[in-house]
């Protein structure tokens, strides 16, 4: 059974069709990369899956049940966790409190003490220990992205949606982060991680399967190397072959 299934999902903004009749199936245990030119609808797709926006058309099935009309917090309870492309930590709260919120209200919904412990664990994992008790608003954009990752992980999601978390990250950190994601997903049985990214070495290092979006629709859906060597992808997205990028 597919973990997540989208059928003909369409999301419009006024005249603009941001996601266009998107159908997609994600099986458990997959690592997926979603790429595509700027404005091709990747973030919008995430917003539709996590419930920030409701689609005009189509349905979203998670673990066999229809969640198309569920509010975002219910989806979080079911196990959909995400980060935001532009980090949105709760600025006046400390890093620890931020991550604890994820644990507290996420899939397992634990009490305050436990979530603080969980938070400490994930803060250590992403390497924010030194900043644990700092007000999160005072961190750099990159550090804020780490908070986002820790917070999403603390939700113990079954499906983790990462939106450009590596952008602006130091190449070495990217490697580390990819390793970490893989480990965590194995340990915690996060069924799949989907990652939107423009940094090809991150995508290649991470994804087994790559979905290329173009103008709101799926252009290519194939194993990573194959997808990124597709001439259409080079044409609309990469500009040159991946090795040069």
């Amino acid at each position: 059974m597919a973990l997540l299934k989208l059928e003909n999902v369409t999301k419009r903004f006024g005249g603009l069709v941001a996601v266009d009749k998107m159908s997609l199936e994600i099986k458990e245990g997959e690592f997926i990369g979603i790429v595509g030119p700027n404005g091709s609808g990747k973030t919008t797709l995430y917003n539709v899956i996590s419930g920030v926006y409701f689609p005009e058309n189509g349905s979203i099935i998670f673990e066999g049940s229809d969640i198309t009309k569920l509010p975002p917090y219910r989806r979080a309870h079911l196990g959909i966790g995400r980060t935001f492309q532009i980090p949105r930590p709760f600025s006046s709260a400390t890093v620890r409190e931020n991550v604890a919120v994820g644990a507290m209200f996420g899939r397992l919904s634990v009490n305050v003490e436990e979530s603080l412990e969980t938070a400490d664990y994930y803060i250590g994992l992403v390497g924010l220990k030194a900043h644990r008790d700092k007000i999160s608003g005072a961190l750099t954009p990159t550090e804020k992205k780490l908070i986002e990752i820790a917070r999403a992980l603390a939700m113990k999601p079954k499906l983790l949606l990462l939106d450009e978390v590596m952008a602006g990250m130091h190449p070495e950190s990217i490697e580390k982060m990819i390793r970490l994601l893989k480990e965590v997903s194995e340990e915690e049985k996060i069924a799949i991680v989907s990652m939107v990214e423009h940094i090809m070495r991150a995508v290649i290092g991470f994804a087994k399967r790559v979905i290329v979006m173009y103008r709101g629709a799926k252009l290519v859906d194939a194993p990573a190397q194959e997808a990124l060597n597709d001439p259409r992808v080079i044409e609309v997205y990469l500009g040159k072959g991946i090795r040069d990028a």
């Binding site: 030119p37 700027n38 602006g168 070495e172 950190s173 609309v236 997205y237 990028a245």
Partner: protein, 250 residues
């Protein structure tokens, strides 16, 4: 050796920007700890380093949106440490900030016009438009579109274009390639090179995209924990394997 000598003798004329022992931060936290760097006239200089090194803070302090605590910022030999941002812009220093900061409800054209806000720049508005459109032909097709509805890459171009409308002598860019599709990254770097080539602009930029940065830069600084740890031409930096690995991870 020769290079050092050259710098010593020719420094005065060719030096665009010089940052001397700069300290700043976000009270109470200090981020920059005595930073020194300089940008030569008509050169592309890049500032590389791990996350949290203080690269953005450096640019923001030079620009003035973060106030310097100590040290000096010299621009064409003139002390501009205390100048407010708008005076710096009038003098030809411009920043393309991280996150672009466009005016979302204004059209592309209106955004660009805002760039030519200072009186000096306003006079040369027509000329500037031609320059921007020749560098970024896509923008010409989008003049009437609202900035918020552009794709990320197009937004970055508007941000750079807007900065060009200022008629700057030095442009500072904070991670111009961040969040851009690979195809657009190439375009942006090409644009940077052309700005230098065609209008002799001095450029100081911060990047994570090390390889490309080394490709187009004339001079490179490597920064860590608030100060410069190494500097040199791309060739020199490429040769310093240990430094490269320690601070750049490549």
């Amino acid at each position: 050796m020769i290079r050092g000598l050259l710098r010593f003798t020719l420094g005065r004329e060719s030096e665009m920007l010089k940052v001397d022992n700069l300290e700043s931060g976000y009270r109470p936290m200090q981020v920059l700890w005595g930073l020194n760097l300089e940008v030569k006239k008509g050169s592309i200089t890049s500032l590389l380093g791990p996350n949290g090194a203080g690269k953005s803070t450096t640019l923001k302090t030079v620009f003035g949106s973060v106030l310097p605590w100590n040290g000096k910022i010299l621009y064409e030999g003139m002390d501009i440490t205390e100048l407010p941002t708008h005076s710096k812009v009038e003098k030809g220093i411009v920043l393309v900030p991280e996150g672009r900061h466009l005016f979302p409800n204004m059209t592309v054209k209106e955004n660009l016009i805002m760039g030519a806000y200072s009186e000096e720049a306003a006079k040369r508005q027509v000329e500037s438009f031609e320059l921007v459109y020749s560098l970024f032909p896509v923008l010409k097709e989008r003049t009437k579109q609202r900035a918020s509805s552009l794709s990320g890459g197009e937004q970055q171009m508007v941000a750079i274009g807007r900065a060009l409308m200022v008629r700057p002598k030095i442009m500072m860019l904070d991670e111009p390639s961040q969040g851009l599709a690979p195809r657009l990254v190439i375009q942006v770097f090409e644009a940077i090179e052309r700005m230098r080539g065609e209008i002799g602009l001095s450029v100081l930029f911060v990047e994570q995209n090390v390889e490309t940065s080394l490709d187009i830069s004339d001079y490179v600084y490597i920064m860590h924990e608030g100060s410069i740890k190494a500097e040199g031409t791309p060739k020199e930096i490429r040769a310093l394997t240990d430094i490269r690995e320690a601070y750049l991870g490549v």
